[in-house]
Assembly symmetry: C2
Homo-oligomer: 298 residues x 2
Amino acid sequence: MSTPLASWHPQAAQRLQQFVSAVTDPSHSAYVEPSDRIATFDNDGTLWCEKPLYIQLAFVVERVKALAAEHPQWPHEEPFSAVLSGDLKRLQQLRMPEDVLTLVAATHAGMTQAEFQADVVTFFDHARHPRWQRPYTALVYQPMVELVQFLQQHQFTVYLCSAGGLDFMRVISARAYGIPPEHVVGSSIQKKYRPDGTFERTAELVKPINDQAGKPVLIERHIGKRPILAGGNSDGDIAMLDYVTQRSGASLALLLHHDDAEREYAYDAGAEAALTLAKERPWQVVSMRSDFLTIFPE
Amino acid sequence: MSTPLASWHPQAAQRLQQFVSAVTDPSHSAYVEPSDRIATFDNDGTLWCEKPLYIQLAFVVERVKALAAEHPQWPHEEPFSAVLSGDLKRLQQLRMPEDVLTLVAATHAGMTQAEFQADVVTFFDHARHPRWQRPYTALVYQPMVELVQFLQQHQFTVYLCSAGGLDFMRVISARAYGIPPEHVVGSSIQKKYRPDGTFERTAELVKPINDQAGKPVLIERHIGKRPILAGGNSDGDIAMLDYVTQRSGASLALLLHHDDAEREYAYDAGAEAALTLAKERPWQVVSMRSDFLTIFPE
């Protein structure tokens, strides 16, 4: 086996290892039982690239275009109008995650769950990122994938906790991160069970959306335990990071900072409040430029 | 270690063992990978006693009485009026699980989640079943507890899938069945996350209620995989049992029949449709009188 956390700068790797050593050492005051070693990671911008567009938005753009002929009102109605304009600026100004969830709900309602999953599979098979021309599943952050594996090797149960769609993520979470479907927490839509054993997707969102204060709410609903480690990258993750570091006992909150324009993207937009709070909170800011030796898998 | 399934009649135990042997034998055509060995069990009447009242109804009765002085309209309003009457017949005629969920939602709204859990702990510490004068956690079905353990020993992930309250069950699921909080699927209420890291309970139910067609819907939402084994005892479990046996590949659906008036209770009420369907469905009916050597733990 290769060195764990090999894609992290040694100093950053050491900080992570120290935390894991402490919580897994029965003689250490910070020890945590395996059943309580829960870690939750935001997905977009934390485990994989979210620029120039959320990957789920790239997915739904194709479907909006395909269905546009049947919906003559869409060119006059947001967020459909922005999608049909093909204008990257307008797409980037959509409200996230609300607008992408609205788009997915509207464009996939009436489909069965199996049809939706097949659509997602096709997307990942064919779509390529505009800058690197790689499949989107090859744009996961290698250091974060190593961290997920490192935690799992130390009897952590690692959950995805994404504002994006539960069903979208579940199609690739095992392949991309080694996180099985039952460990994905995300925004989702109501489904109807049909007597033939299939599920029909509706356009109604399950409340709450898994963003901001919704993250701890859905973590509590899904897991029923407070995580001891969480990772995020945006203002949508503030509540989740606070929830973790407010526990009594050891905790680790990681805030990924996108500060590497050369190898990925440099942006604080959408993370301004989190980056400001990080100065007074017991969170560790991870600099992608300094702490990541590599960004993407080979 | 004692014999697995020791509290089952040997023939019934053998049928269960044959299924588990087949799905765990890599050379068998029915083999199922450990990651897909999902089992879901209804709770009330399937894993523990639900007579004369749902245990969660017994729990909420105390609280309705305690709060009645603050709610002068309750004596004129169902389901509160039935509870305050103290009339067992009227209590037994409440619509389940809707009415108990309404009662819990109404009587615990505004509490924090921690306060609610403390209330549940107190209930289980002090309440006794009217017939046996035992704590309710001692009224689990010993053969079913053995089955849960037997499955877990064979790398099944076992979930509770109860129409009753998620938060009520989670307090005792690990102690009663060895099922951890994250493997409980149930009906629940919306909560608000507070900046101090606590959750405030509201009176709004999460949709759908985890009953009838809601069971496959919440299994799909929570787990994202179709179980290969399920157990139930009432009409509310029909959709879950169908969902399991409609999968391609091996499956096992158990329908518990309450036919033992002497050692427990004998009733078909609420299970009429399930018992009729069982004659044409590939389900196994478990007779509590014939298949259970013992009912409750010593």
